[in-house]
Amino acid sequence: MLSRLADHLFWMSRYIERAENTTRMLDVQHQASMLPGGQAMANNAWRAVLELSELEERYRASHDEIASDRVIGFMSADASNPSSILSCLTAARENARAVRVVLAPDLWEAVNSTFLEAKTMLRHPSWVRDPSRFFEWVKLRSHLCRGVMIGTMLKDEAYFFSRIGTFLERADNTARILDVKYLAHGSGDFQDKDRADFYFWASVLRSVSAFEIYRKVYRDVITPLKIAELLIQRADMPRSLLACLNELMINLRAVASEEASSASLRVAGRLQAEVQYLSIDAKFAPEIHAFLTRFLSETHFLGAKISEEFLVPIAA
């Protein structure tokens, strides 16, 4: 298929996934901010949300203080913020529009109507009073778009590149969420046993729909190290780093003409092996932040390799 079309599909999926992940993060934070706790703690958490998306500077340029409703507005409805949910849905739709030729009509309708309805919902001031409803809706629409993709698309390159976009974005996001503790408190100590941290870690799990999964897998109290193991290494946990890399490998193999000579496959395979054979134990705990930082830079590098090999190379 045309490289440009594959590129649009890749980014369409990434933006849908990004909209969903941003939503998950905001929703969890919004829920957590209703728990009793110091104002300082809540503010720290909102600052971490901005930092996760590397947006604190941009936010400060137009806002003087960090407050929950303002961060939610900035991250959801602000069209001047390129990472806001609205911007992601707009970008997803613009990418979809450019490839309508290869999109199943149902998928185009799903992406297009998501954008149109989001614009309508956010224009109505009432959404601010109950942002959770909006968040719930975005999550559902993201599920819908992905479901339509899986349920209606021909399993050809268009599909494979869409999936590659989804999992690359998801891997990036899960790594960022795991790192949130470091960002909020300046320490990434996964040994922490503080009772107050229960709510913090529970919210991390909820943000990736993993709270129930954790209970089911470990039948144990929530400990940060087990969370790290679940979100990094469990292949059966759908949003873990390893699960994302496994999917990336499957879809990259499907598009690479020759496995041995594909630079993207080599990068992804190396990363997959590293994650799979990590020992996540007490000794590893202090290194998690460093590991995640490196992981993020590796996935970034992988994205650039994929663009270079198959898509439209990212301009330097």
Binding site: M1, L2, S3, R4, L5, A6, T90, R93, E94, R97, A98, R100, V101, V102, P105, W108, E109, N112, S113, F115, K119, E157, F161, V255, S257, F310, L311
Partner: protein
Amino acid sequence: MSLHEVPVDELLAQPMADGSRPAKPHVEKLWKWLESQPPELLEQAKQDADLLFRRAGITFNVYGDEAGAERLIPFDLIPRVLAAEEWNQLERGLHQRVAALNAFLEDIYNQGGQIIKAGLIPPELIYANSQYRPEVSGIKLPHQVWAHISGIDIVRAGQGEFYVLEDNLRVPSGVSYMIEDRKVMMRLFPDLFARHAVAPVEHYPDLLLEKLRSVAPAGVEDPTVVILTPGVFNSAYFEHAYLAQQMGVELVEGSDLFVSDQRVYAKTTRGPRRIDVIYRRIDDDFLDPLVFRADSALGVPGLVSAFREGRVTICNAIGTGIADDKAVYPYVPEMIRFYLSEEPILSNVPTHLCRRPDDLRYVLDHLPELVVKETHGAGGYGMLIGPTSSKAQIEEFRARLLANPANYIAQPTLALSTCPTMVEEGIAPRHVDLRPFVLSGREIAMVPGGLTRVALKKNSLVVNSSQGGGTKDTWVLHHA
């Protein structure tokens, strides 16, 4: 033909003494059905239609508007109906006209301009015309076809005679509305189609693909066809995407293609792929920065050279604009006689060429009655409609006309036919035209009907969507 008469209507007979207008015989059943529909049901259907169009993304972009500001072209629920006999006559006329236009293009680019040598068309009208492209003279095209897709604008006036208003041989658009209007009508009113033998139009993309494949360069067994679009911000982008999807071909932009060794290739995820036929929706000027506008980023460097070598077929060919120039239009009946030795079946609208001193004098004396158009104009812009213009507007136009007479033609204001249309005050007559799409490959073919455009403003004669026009489903109706 006078403006004071009630113009002929597509569905209704002339008014009776009491002002009522009975339906014409071929639409009696349809009219009865329409009159039996409760108004709220029609109103609901209208909303459903809007929703269907919007959900399918059938919109057109408005230049300069914010991202995502797309408009629907208004769709009218009442179909425009041609009796099968009317269509048959029209089809023969269109077939004849397009055959002559292609023969003319082949003549002036490839046969030394026999029609000019015969003294039937003044040479300077062709060779000094900016639409004439010397770059393509001497090129041998498959089946000698230059205009593969022609949109011929037809109006009816007087007692309902057909007139050709203009020929569109560059990149005529609108065919997607023809197809989608039909799909929406069938979805909204299946019972109507069960009761009427309406000739189908949905096979247009199939027919188009067949024609495009039939003009591939000689020796290519299984040609690869693509549609070349200026991109997502073009006002007709939806149509480009739609046709590509319907035909199952790639929609490419200039940056997706490159020329190497006089051959055209597409950049794909698996390396370069050879391209044989390009259905381009980009004007000549932007096709190849090495030959035409150097500042254009829409085209493909080297494309014209590959085209000249016969390694790729471009549809429509470069240089067809000379045949649909409004100053050349008055000579089309002569072309039909010269190349086909036939009498024209479809009439031209009588046209004054302002480049001729006698014609100019007449036009200046009769401006308030005439329609004056720019010879290269399109889209309903740059024209004067005398009867609906103010004194000041006419005088302003007179000055422009005098400054550059050769740039203008003038025609009498036709009492265009009307068709009953749903407007705010109920059902009222509105002026319509018709754009059938004629396809030329090894043979000429077309689907029955075409795109009916309707001027939704009362008394307006301008049907262009950029000027507030809408569309209607067009039926060619066989007697059941």
